[in-house]
Symmetry: C2
Subunit: 191 residues, 2 copies
């Protein structure tokens, strides 16, 4: 039995009919929803290294839509004995949570017929480096807390706009990973 989702016109730069068609396709063939994302990284010098992101598997096949690599440098700043050629790795976590919630807000707004004017956010993460420096066993290595603050405006009352953010949070892949954690395996081959 196939359920046809309601249709709405494109909105907020979201191709809403295709979004609903994608939902219907995944409903009918759940294996289409299995994705694998990937990155490769290469050490350059000191704390400076570079990741490349391109290929992924999803919707039943290897993606071929990306015709160029995305490359990102990471480094420590001088105060952390690096050379500042990129943000620290932990700062990319802040980008990831802001980006995931924002993409969700736009999709959900389109699905609900809410025209957005602007969405911006600031993210702060507090970390006590006594953990990673190995100077205290009582301080964790990672962030102690992350705060995301959204400013959102659109053609809807404040409570409707707030509900978009709440629904995005409830369905965010990055929010889930950051708040609930995920098994990470680390393997090494040397030589």
């Amino acid at each position: 039995m196939t359920t046809i989702s309601p249709t709405r016109p494109p909105l907020n730069g979201v191709d809403t009919p295709t979004l609903f068609a994608t939902l219907d396709a995944a409903k009918g063939t759940p294996d289409l929803a299995k994705f694998q994302f990937r990155a490769t990284n290469r050490w350059l010098s000191g704390t400076h290294n570079r990741s490349t992101i391109r290929g992924f598997y999803g919707a039943g096949q290897e993606d071929t839509s990306r015709t160029e690599d995305f490359t990102y440098d990471a480094d420590h700043p001088a105060v952390l004995v690096g050379t500042g050629h990129g943000p620290t790795p932990v700062e990319f976590l802040l980008h990831a949570i802001a980006a995931c919630l924002t993409a969700g807000i736009a999709n959900i707004a389109a699905a609900r017929g809410v025209a957005l004017h602007a969405v911006s956010s600031t993210v702060e993460g507090d970390i006590d480096l006594l953990g990673i420096l190995g100077l205290s066993d009582r301080v964790r290595n990672g962030y102690q807390g992350i705060r995301v603050s959204f400013q959102i405006s659109g053609d809807a009352p404040p409570e409707v706009l707030r509900a978009l953010v709440e629904q995005s949070r409830a369905r965010s892949a990055v929010y889930d990973v950051l708040t609930n954690g995920v098994p990470v395996s680390v393997e090494v081959s040397s030589g």
Copy 2:
């Protein structure tokens, strides 16, 4: 009582004496280890948005070493009804874990006097989008698992090289956040 850490010459592009001096400074004045990292994000259209990373607080003051913004786009690919102007938010998590572990490996190798030749890694993350699409309550929104595979070579036996990776994992901020989770608050102001 001040403990002076052992000194070693610079190695692997790591300013090892400054690294040990930084450890000693944080040991003597633990407040220097309190950092706050930040990102701001702006919605562009659909699932396309852009983060800016620059300022942070640490070592007792606002950092002024970064003279330009780092900016990063995120988007969904066409198969996920986006426009492909950047990686997906979840792919930045893979970059972050690779970058954090790699920076740690270089630092730890320098501290242990191990000259590295090359460090590279691949990261894979499996995700079933039935979660974020709202099509199954039994599927989580985020990655179900992440696998990091390192290839490392240097002037040391395999077991010494492997121990560098293990110590980096044990002290990685991103590994801690991804595996253990962190409290994330989301606030909204609308209008």
